[in-house]
């Protein structure tokens, strides 16, 4: 298969910080319309992997392909405009804007200075915001300032900001961290729903949650991928049990 058959095609990706290889020869192929999860102990290089994909860090070697785009050479904003977006580990929303405004700012129109000046809040925008707010369980909080949301709601809002931006590839860094059991369940439902017409790469610690959502799993350890496959096969892998699950 060629690189464009995958939603995201990461091959032999390496980044080295002063000789320390945080990500070492990693290859991950995310299939279209799936939820792909990367697990691994602290310091395995998972977040660095996302930094590399979304352009925050530039790789030392290797390829990251999305459609025909070579993400390793692009600026952060261009990567997003190509259709790859990312949720941060700590919920990053705009605290002084309302939920409505948070979503409106992420609407994929008026991204230039003049475009933003001329941007009009028309019915199409309003409808889309309501639609997304429904999906992320925040339709009754539209007028609440971001800072007053609970931790879990902030996580949802950030996912909603990615949804409204109409991205084909979504990267989520620990989306259920700090969530209650009910919220985790709702998030799993949400991810299943949104993965129907886009692909999702998730970094996660919570094994039950991973079991629930993952189509495929990669296990990382000390910058390297040590196992790949479905959750069932990965869980039985001895190496994985040794470095991670056994603890």
């Amino acid at each position: 298969m060629s690189s464009t058959d995958y939603a995201l095609y990461i091959e032999n990706l390496t980044v080295s910080f002063d000789g320390f290889k945080a990500v070492d020869d990693v290859s991950i192929y995310v299939e279209k319309g799936t939820v792909h999860v990367v697990i691994g102990p602290n310091g395995a290089g998972k977040t660095t992997l996302l930094d590399l994909v979304c352009g925050k860090t530039k790789p030392t070697a290797g390829k990251i392909k999305f459609d025909d785009y070579d993400l390793t050479t692009m600026h952060e904003q261009d990567i997003v405009q190509a259709g790859v977006g990312r949720k941060f580990q700590t919920p990053s929303i705009y605290p002084s804007l309302t939920v409505f405004e948070n979503l409106e700012v992420s609407y994929p129109k008026g991204r230039g200075v003049w475009g933003a000046l001329g941007f009009k809040r028309d019915q199409e925008v309003i409808d889309r915001i309501h639609e997304v707010a429904d999906m992320i369980y925040l339709s009754d909080k539209l007028q609440t300032p971001g800072e007053l949301l609970s931790h879990g709601q902030k996580q949802w809002l950030e996912i909603g900001m990615l949804l409204i931006a109409d991205l084909q590839m979504i990267l989520l860094d620990e989306p259920v961290a700090g969530m209650s059991v009910v919220e985790r369940k709702q998030t799993a439902d949400l991810l299943r729903k949104i993965s129907q017409n886009r692909s999702i790469l998730v970094i996660e610690h919570d094994m039950n949650f991973v079991r629930e959502i993952a189509h495929r799993v990669n296990v990382m350890h000390q910058g390297k991928v040590i196992a790949e496959g479905s959750m069932e096969t990965v869980e039985k892998n001895e190496k994985v049990i040794e470095v991670y699950l056994g603890h």
Partner: protein, 387 residues
């Protein structure tokens, strides 16, 4: 949706009311209460308020603390002063008669150029021969300077304290430039002795009244214009960048472009104020372009509330009036008194006077209405506040 609309409406209503109060204060109360000397002082203060309004956009909303707004304010002022000076030079030549003046000076050349042995008008003065081009320069020159600085700094992702320090350095550079290039700029004295604008004597009382209303009117117009920009998506984005820059960048925006825009806009708004200052006061000097005035402009915002376009006008007026009053009444203590006010305000209400009004204004208003026994109105207003 209903909730949304009512929220927006009551918010808008509050803005409109405070804008009307400000407009009434500037256009009715001040002209009725003050004599022309004080009114001219107010016009001077209001011309400084332009810089504060610019800072509301780039600092209060965009999070870019610029300690160099005085530079842009001054550039706008210098541009207009250059035009007025050329006009003055021609007038002097006409009044004195060419034969006599020819022996002493070059006709049509500003006096300070003569003193610096410059016999021909420098090329950079040529645009200021024409009034329309001068007006364009008032906006464009500071705009271009801000654009170049913004491009160099924001594209490299320099921000915060580092940016503030660079803008301070800019003040210092501008002052040195304007003082040392005496032949072009009038040196330490600046450009003085400006009397007419397009043949209209700007020193008469009637002219000062007119200029006061021009200054106040333009300030109000600039506030409305800024309000329009801040309520657009661009305004929301500025707040978003201030609070969570990375999130904006990873939502597909080139953050630096928005920073450059708000910095340029703030510079151009300041420049309008500088030009009005020249008309009201009749001179421009490098001391007004430098570090201390730029810091004062930030203090206006800190006191008035850096997020409030209207609050900073009051902030400017209070600081400037305070400076004048205290320095007249307590020549030795006034610096300490001013310092005391700043400390009290920043400690007691970090959002400035506007923040104070926001948190206690509704309560005070309700109390006042109850006190006046207009209960119907009060309950109606309360309902709206609740909604």
């Amino acid at each position: 949706m209903k909730l949304l609309e009512s929220g927006v409406v009551s918010e808008n209503r509050k803005h409109i009311i405070s804008f009307i109060i400000l407009a009434a204060t500037l256009l009715l109360v001040f002209p009725l209460v003050f004599d022309i000397f004080r009114l001219n002082l107010v016009a001077k203060y209001l011309s400084l308020a332009f810089a504060a309004v610019g800072l509301v956009i780039c600092w209060g909303h965009g999070g870019i603390l610029s300690l160099g707004q005085g530079v842009f304010w001054g550039l706008g002022g210098y541009c207009l002063a250059a035009f007025l000076k050329l006009e003055a030079a021609v007038n002097i030549a006409n009044e004195a008669g060419t034969d006599q003046i020819k022996a002493l000076t070059t006709v049509g050349l500003p006096d300070f150029m003569d003193w610096n042995q410059i016999t021909e008008l420098p090329y950079i003065w040529y645009p200021f021969k024409s009034f329309p081009i001068t007006l364009i320069c008032v906006l464009i020159v500071p705009g271009i300077v801000a654009f170049i600085i913004g491009l160099a700094i924001f594209k490299r992702r320099v921000s915060g304290v580092y940016f503030a320090i660079i803008t301070q350095a800019l003040c210092w550079i501008m002052e040195i430039l304007f003082v040392t290039r005496q032949g072009w700029t009038g040196g330490i004295n600046g450009i003085t002795d400006l009397r007419t604008c397009l043949g209209w004597d700007i020193r008469t009382q009637a002219a000062q009244y007119t200029l006061y209303f021009l200054t106040a009117g333009l300030l109000l117009a600039v506030i409305l214009f800024s309000k329009k920009i801040l309520s657009s998506k661009l305004g929301q984005l500025l707040v978003a960048i201030r609070d969570m820059e990375d999130r904006v960048r990873f939502s597909g925006y080139d953050v630096s472009n928005f920073k450059i825009f708000s910095f340029c806009l703030a510079a151009m708004i300041s420049a309008v104020g500088g030009a009005l200052f020249v008309l009201n006061v009749g001179f421009m000097s490098p001391k007004l372009v430098t570090i201390a005035p730029s810091i004062y402009m930030v203090i206006f915002c800190a006191l008035g509330g850096r997020e409030s376009l209207i609050g900073v006008v009051y902030g400017t007026l209070i600081v400037c009036f305070g400076r004048t009053y205290f320095s007249e009444q307590f020549p030795e203590l006034w610096m300490f008194l001013m310092g005391g006010i700043f400390i009290v305000v920043t400690v007691a209400c970090p959002k400035g006077l506007a923040g104070l009004f926001e948190s206690h204004g509704a309560k005070a208003l309700a109390f006042l209405k109850k006190f006046l026994k207009i209960e119907n109105l009060a309950s109606k207003d309360k309902k709206e506040v609740e909604a």
